[in-house]
Symmetry: none
Subunit: 125 residues, 4 copies
DNA sequence: GTGGTCTAGACCACG
DNA sequence: GTGGTCTAGACCACC
């Protein structure tokens, strides 16, 4: 698995993991039906407690991104569950863009960064 | 003050306030040298604990967005404040874009949303 | 066999199978004395591990719904099987009804859904 | 709080708690804006670990039934979030009714039990 | 082997 | 005071 944790990141570990996996799905590195590494394996690889990984996986399940089959591992599910809702989507985008504006970037530069991120987020598609 | 709090927002209140003020600065509603309302007044307006407002102002001060002068209120400082660092900027943008991708939006649509948000964030400039 | 498994169902597979067979009995599709397909056949049909089917049949046997005769297959037994107990019956009904109430349905609507389900569950009688 | 745990209940403790609170909301014992007892208090009252209660509250939050404000307690929120979806509602009702049928109850008796449960679930309305 | 639940106890963040 | 996160370690259920 190509997940990395950042101690300086303010998000909790389980959230970093869940977000990382979402990014892998968005990128196409993880596709429908693929099996995710077991809770125990991720725990060992990242040096993080079992429970913490379980919380991340559980969140992904609640949000409909993965299907958990009890003794049989976790797989990427086909249809995403509920979306965050247009409102939430806009809010997080707005916050991110505000930071860029305050850092002094011009619209042109921000748009370029967005284009770059989009293409890298879709590399495997 | 044109700040609104959202109980369903997952950010802590002090962060919503700090972000809101940052957005007002980015928008140009608050410009260099302008005086922010007192901690006490914001506290009353929003019905929020004094300490909470103080924490928000303290963060804005730490990040260089405002200047606190004892007995003379809080003013917007010039814009060479400390940036969050390129890494943090990218991370927050990346997370927001990932959500849009997973919600099924095409690059075209996302770029349009970005353009719209940018122009509305700069309305007053 | 007219059993279908749902990966998104939170019940374990063996429970889905056992419940499905109970429903077939309740509906009258399976009647006293009829022979159930072998563990091996169900396993093949559904693509499920042999042990899992065995657990389901074992539960049906424990609850008195079927009779297992060595070498002679599994047959539906007469209906004086062990009931779950009034308490358990009420609890599961109560949980289901609570969900309907919280979803905003009126008593009239809930009662209608109950009537419909009852008649469809008894179609073959 | 009028929550009780049943060791014979097959649902996990956190689920019993979450379901119990949902029932209190459906019943009208807990209304919009009311404050739930703190995690620590429930933990003490029921003799259950803090984390277990936290999991229950978190589930209620994820499902939109309560609003959590960090240092300020948990309150019943106004609008329920996403419903379980008509499919899930029907499935749980169908399972419950099947049990009653297999226990030998007539439609008349089942309908009566439903009526009784509905009225008791709405006592405070 | 897999994931799920629960405990005890620590430390942090928020108001 | 409140809730949030994380750990270590136990035991259970499923396949």
């Amino acid at each position: 698995m190509f997940l990395s944790l950042d101690a300086n990141d303010k998000r909790p570990i389980y959230q970093q993991i869940a977000d990382g996996i979402k990014a892998l799905i968005a990128r196409g590195d993880l596709r429908e039906g693929m099996v995710l590494p077991s809770v125990r394996q991720v725990s060992g690889d990242l040096g993080v407690n079992l429970n913490t990984i379980a919380v991340a996986y559980r969140q992904l399940q609640d949000e409909g991104f993965v299907t958990v089959r009890h003794g049989a591992g976790v797989t990427v599910s086909s249809r995403r569950g509920r979306q965050p809702g247009q409102e939430a989507l806009l809010k997080s985008l707005r916050t991110a863009l505000t930071e860029w504006i305050l850092a002094g970037f011009a619209d042109r530069e921000i748009a370029a960064a967005v284009r770059q991120e989009l293409s890298s987020a879709r590399q495997k598609r």
